[in-house]
Amino acid sequence: MIPWTAIVVLSAVAGGLGVVLAVLDRYLGTYGECKIYINDNEPLVVQGGNSVLQYLIDHKIFIPSACGGRATCGFCKLKVLEGGGLVLPTETPFLSKDEIRQGVRLVCQVKVKQDVRLLIPEAYLRVQRFRTQVAAIEDLTHDIKRIVLKLIEPDTIECKPGQYIQFEVPGTNEFRAYSMASPPSWKHAIELIVRLVPGGLCTGYIFNRLQEGDEIYITGPYGEFYLREDSQRDILCVAGGSGVAPIKSIITHLFEQGTTRRVTYFFGARAVKDLYFYRECLELARQHPNFTYIAALSAMDPGDQWEGETGFIHTVIDKRLDSCANMEAYLCGPPVMIDAVIEVLKRKGMSESCIYFDKF
């Protein structure tokens, strides 16, 4: 028998309290009209009470925020010059003492209660929201997929090789960041490489639901990890696992531009089944004498036929490179791998200011 009385009584209690909360929120949670001044331009006029990040998104100014405003990714850092209030305990783990002194805040945590003045880097103001359509989706390995999104509106993107976009998971308010694997010359489409994260919301959606022809919204481009084109140094690229995407973009762009810089690319994977874009890279190395490709496997499956390098990628770099003094490095992969590689590169004479990395 369904206990209807219990359901009705419980709903009455919860509903009544909900009404109380809604009424209070209406009177306590709003702060009247507030102005947000960005880089001393014309202010955005908003009804206070929400976070700065939310108002910026509402006004189509997209600040990186992989966690959707929960102060867990620490991406949405901006300089708040006035009106931000005190730094919250939720922000302190992501801010250095220097940043706090300069007024840097996580804008997902800064509530607009009065007029706010903030600085937004010009690059963020160029970020756009794109309506896209899935043009291709295919398996690269057992747990990595390649996705091509055709841009519909706006239909062109200006980006630098190595930057990333944020993928809006349909039906949720969640975003996830993915590096673009396509070079900037792909003006009307972008390519992503996505590895399945067990239990992951976005990768779960991509692997189980996403199909060719689906419409997807993305924002971008974001990121400080991109190819420094004005430099003349030789280039070292290191990718681990699914960290190939930005490196692929960088390398493709370099050779499209007919670079004369020496490019060495190390790719670390676990077993033969995790190798992808392997033949393409070997082919590229055959065509361009200034490109070297070295793949290394760290945990081969029994029966794997492999005559290349083995071991962790930092030990292979240590073995294969002599001096790194006249090189700059672009690293993308898991934090442990990047930390180990940086150690090796510093030991081999690379200046820390020439090492660019993207940990994920």
């Binding site: 206990p3 009385t5 219990a6 009705v8 009584v9 419980l10 009455a12 209690v13 919860a14 309290l17 909900g18 109380v20 909360l21 209070l24 929120d25 306590l28 949670g29 209030g85 005190l86 919250l88 305990p89 939720t90 209660k113």
Partner: protein, 193 residues
């Protein structure tokens, strides 16, 4: 029993923190600083009073008439959770500094067993509405008194030589035990059953 007696007993002889050891998490964590402890204590008084104000009518006017008393636990938890939201809104609006200082412990009042304990005791002991209110305000004040006393002691403790292994929560628990022994001295005056 007179509401005055209940009020007095809730503060001293049946102090919810020191006789039942309820609400220990914020009691230990937020008693480092006198001002924050006072703010937390006031917030607890507020939530306790509101809890009694809502929980008593819900139990006697809704759960009892419809014979669904077994819903008391879930109803009380919903009430407390909603009331903590109310307190959070009020504090954020009127004292942002206190809001920041309390940090995560403010929403934690929701899972503070002192509040739920209060609501359940009030029903268990068959208090009338007035008695319940006296018990709630008294318990809140009792919790404020001990957390402020603890914060006072802990500010002096900075100058004491505490063994390394006992620093922080360890010594605080020992002090709480000693305070409980001290409060036992009030026990002969009156006792709530």
């Amino acid at each position: 029993m007179s509401p005055y007696v209940i009020f007095f007993a809730a503060i001293f002889t049946n102090n919810i923190a020191l006789t039942y050891f309820l609400g220990m998490c914020p009691f230990i964590a937020v008693s480092r600083d006198l001002k924050t402890a006072t703010g937390m204590g006031i917030a607890v008084i507020f939530v306790m009073s509101l809890t009694a104000l809502f929980a008593w009518p819900v139990y006697h006017w809704l759960l009892v008439p419809y014979h669904v008393q077994y819903l008391q636990l879930v109803s009380f938890i919903i009430i407390i959770a909603a009331l903590v939201q109310v307190v959070e809104m009020i504090i954020e609006r009127f004292s942002p500094t206190l809001y920041i200082n309390m940090g995560v412990f403010l929403p934690l009042i929701t899972v503070n067993c002192a509040i739920l304990g209060l609501a359940l005791f009030m029903i268990l002991r068959n208090y009338s509405f007035i008695q319940s209110m006296a018990y709630a305000v008294g318990s809140g004040i009792g919790w404020l008194v001990v957390i402020v006393a603890m914060a006072g002691i802990r500010t002096k403790l900075v100058f004491a030589k505490v063994p390394k292994a006992l620093e922080g929560p360890g010594i605080t628990m020992i002090i709480a035990g000693l305070m409980a022994l001290g409060f036992m001295g009030f026990a002969g005056i009156v006792n709530l059953q």
